[in-house]
Subunit: 429 residues, 2 copies
């Protein structure tokens, strides 16, 4: 029965029962975590073979004889480029293979564009910011760490609503056509953080082809989950660089990915893909910054995976561990919350998150109740710029990290917290 259809006394009874069950869990003094998109220890165990993939002095040499222990090779080993180019769908002269992590590389690119501009004589963003506040488009809900970067660099962030096809393209096209202070957009185009949505072909094509008032507008295409499928019916994403080339806008797109959730967070490698002119420009800026990335670690990845098929096979082992965790949370929500009509959530085919939208005005209260019962969630609002969810509705659930028994308990507590918060709202408590 939907909560809104209940009489007041029915609702009071529902509320009392939920509170009693909740208090039972609270008394246990649990410490559970569904906050961050971290791989579980079992997932990390899958990569053990990489630790010893380069074990001797003789194994430290690249195919072309380069001693990977020494200086040089600023933008990545050729065999690492070959290995990861298919992940981004680019050629080997359109990719850089760098160190940990893609987040750091995105930050660093914005820092470079601030101080040096986007290339081809474009004025540095920090100079442009003298005369006007620069803006950045942020599809919401989105990734909190993206928003923190653009907030730190002083951009005014503009919320862009999203649906099952991706961000609202009518709104984006209108904004970027009129306002040359808009310098970029954050996109997690596949199994988006947190919605799990993969951008439709139409959205990708429109992003690639749209007219922008700013010539130095850049799409930060954080394809973090491009190979993180959960089942045998994965989503498909159009290659935006191909589309941008067709539209004559190839300079617009910067693609990022990493092995942080393939091998190890922290000890993975990050990749950046872009049109060759962009790669050349960014490489020219990097020569004063670095003598080269950790090539031994790149070689470990190459030797462990051998080829891109090796990477995708490895991801199936991750899926076997991650999919049951998603199912555990979704089962709980389907059974306990769906009949009540108080929330909606996504059932993604990949990625690391379930995006949960409760009745307006309930998200903070749900997180608070969870916290008091020992379940840590990403703070309500974190999926929006400045931490402000105008509806106080969205919560990002990260089911991957806890052991599955703990996760089931955490999901149970989350469902109870949702029941309580929504009943309180309806009861005017």
């Amino acid at each position: 029965m939907e909560l809104k259809a209940m009489s007041k006394s029915e609702l009071e009874g529902f509320y009392k029962q939920a509170c009693e069950e909740y208090d039972g869990y609270k008394a246990k003094g649990l410490a559970l975590n569904m906050a961050r998109g971290k791989p579980s220890a079992e997932q990390l165990d899958l990569t053990e073979g990489m630790l010893t993939a380069v074990s001797t002095n003789a194994e430290c040499y690249a195919e072309d004889g380069t001693d990977c222990r020494n200086y040089g090779i600023g933008d990545g080993l050729p065999e690492a480029k070959k290995l990861f180019a298919p992940m981004l769908g680019v050629s080997e002269d359109e990719i850089m293979v760098l160190g940990n992590s893609s987040l750091t590389i995105m930050y660093d690119n914005i820092a470079k564009f601030m101080v040096f501009g986007t290339g081809n004589g474009a004025e540095p963003w920090s100079i442009q910011a003298r005369d006007k506040k620069l803006k950045w488009l942020c599809p919401v809900p989105g990734y909190d760490r993206h928003f923190l970067i653009t907030e730190k660099f002083g951009f005014e962030m503009v919320n862009i609503p999203t649906d099952e096809n991706g961000p609202d393209m009518d709104m984006i096209e209108k904004l970027v056509a009129e306002d040359d202070s808009i310098k970029g957009i954050w996109c997690v185009p596949m199994y988006a953080n947190p919605t799990g949505v993969t951008y439709s072909d139409e959205v990708v094509k429109r992003l690639a082809a749209m007219k922008t008032a700013a010539k130095d507008f850049r799409i930060f295409w954080d394809n973090a989950y491009c190979i993180h499928h959960l089942n045998d019916t994965p989503d498909k994403l159009l290659n935006i660089l191909d589309e941008a080339k067709k539209a004559g806008n190839e300079e617009r797109v910067l693609m990022f990915a990493s092995t942080s959730k393939v091998t190890y967070p922290g000890a993975g490698v990050a990749v950046m893909g872009a049109a060759k002119a962009n790669i050349d420009y960014i490489r020219s800026l990097m020569t004063v910054q670095s003598i080269g990335p950790d090539k031994i670690n790149q070689l470990r990845h190459v030797k462990f995976f051998k080829d891109f098929e090796g990477v995708t096979e490895h991801m199936k082992k991750h899926a076997a561990l991650v999919a049951p965790r998603f199912a555990a949370v979704l089962d709980e929500l389907d059974r306990e919350i769906a009949p009540l009509g108080i929330a909606k959530w996504t059932k993604p085919n990949g990625g690391y998150f379930i995006s949960f939208n409760a009745m307006s005005g309930c998200a903070k209260r749900i997180c608070q109740l969870c916290k008091e019962a020992g379940v840590v969630l990403t703070g309500a609002g974190a999926t929006f710029p400045y931490g402000k969810d105008p509806e106080d509705s969205n919560i990002r659930i990260a089911p991957t990290y806890p052991p599955i028994d703990e996760l089931k308990t955490a999901a149970r507590i989350f469902a109870l917290a949702t029941k309580i918060a929504c009943a309180e709202k309806l009861l005017g408590k």
Copy 2:
């Protein structure tokens, strides 16, 4: 006999003989390299044990139970801080242990100060640069990659002469007291690149205590060679952070070092030391940039070295390989060039370089002659800002990388090139 004391016919004979010998080497089509301060393959072989120091899933955990394979620990593992704090002479809350490399961290700190300022409300350098050209002090000869960073960020670089005690402190004190557009200074205070000089206690104290017109003046103390001794009579360097604290200027000093030439260039770890307030400020900026460095690689270092004594013992093995290479070059210069009175050079107790000062106006020609005979040197002028050596005299010799037989040949060709270039100069050719 000194070249200047020769009669013209003696000098012509000397020149002819040198040219004949040089042509003999040139005909061999050699490919030798004394250009960059790279460890030799034998040196890199010393670290083989580190490759397998973390070999199993169970070995991936830090002392406090942290899973080093996963996200987190933004500023370094506690045991890595403990290991490397003595290298900089700081406490464990005055150090960050990061990834590869110290050059990247220095670049990144300047980038941060450009966009965000040095902390405590100081105006960002890029904002200050609207109204006046900012300046940076560069002791010369110095490290080309330092100069490239400050050139790229638009600083006007000011040459500071150096002698056997370090940079000219009278000049520095006068400049920084008067000019608030001077924002920093590059220092390689021990076994300097390229001079091999270690700053005297007086120089360190004066740098720490001097009055600066700019409150946001920063000393970039690149202590790259702090443990890279060549013999049993190492230089000693005063701890500048201690001195700065005594003078009430502790915010002034940022210290850097790395294991690039201890374990592996590229696959080493870099450290930054500073007063706690500086560390806290920089950490606060880093939270939006990184979720954490490569902790598995930090753990490899910890397990391989165990403690700082393990590091210093390891450095003795490096010295055993590097010292004979320095000796090979110095022997050649002592025997072939010293009697001629046409050049001076340093005989450092550590580091990676011999700084060679030829007769004025001869450095470019020496490098050209070497190149034509297959010996690559760092380009003449590279040890000065903008690549401009006003005397065209200084050449940086890097003896560490080539196998010793090749090095002896390269040194012989270098000596011949010096003879030819100086004789040409004196003969007015």
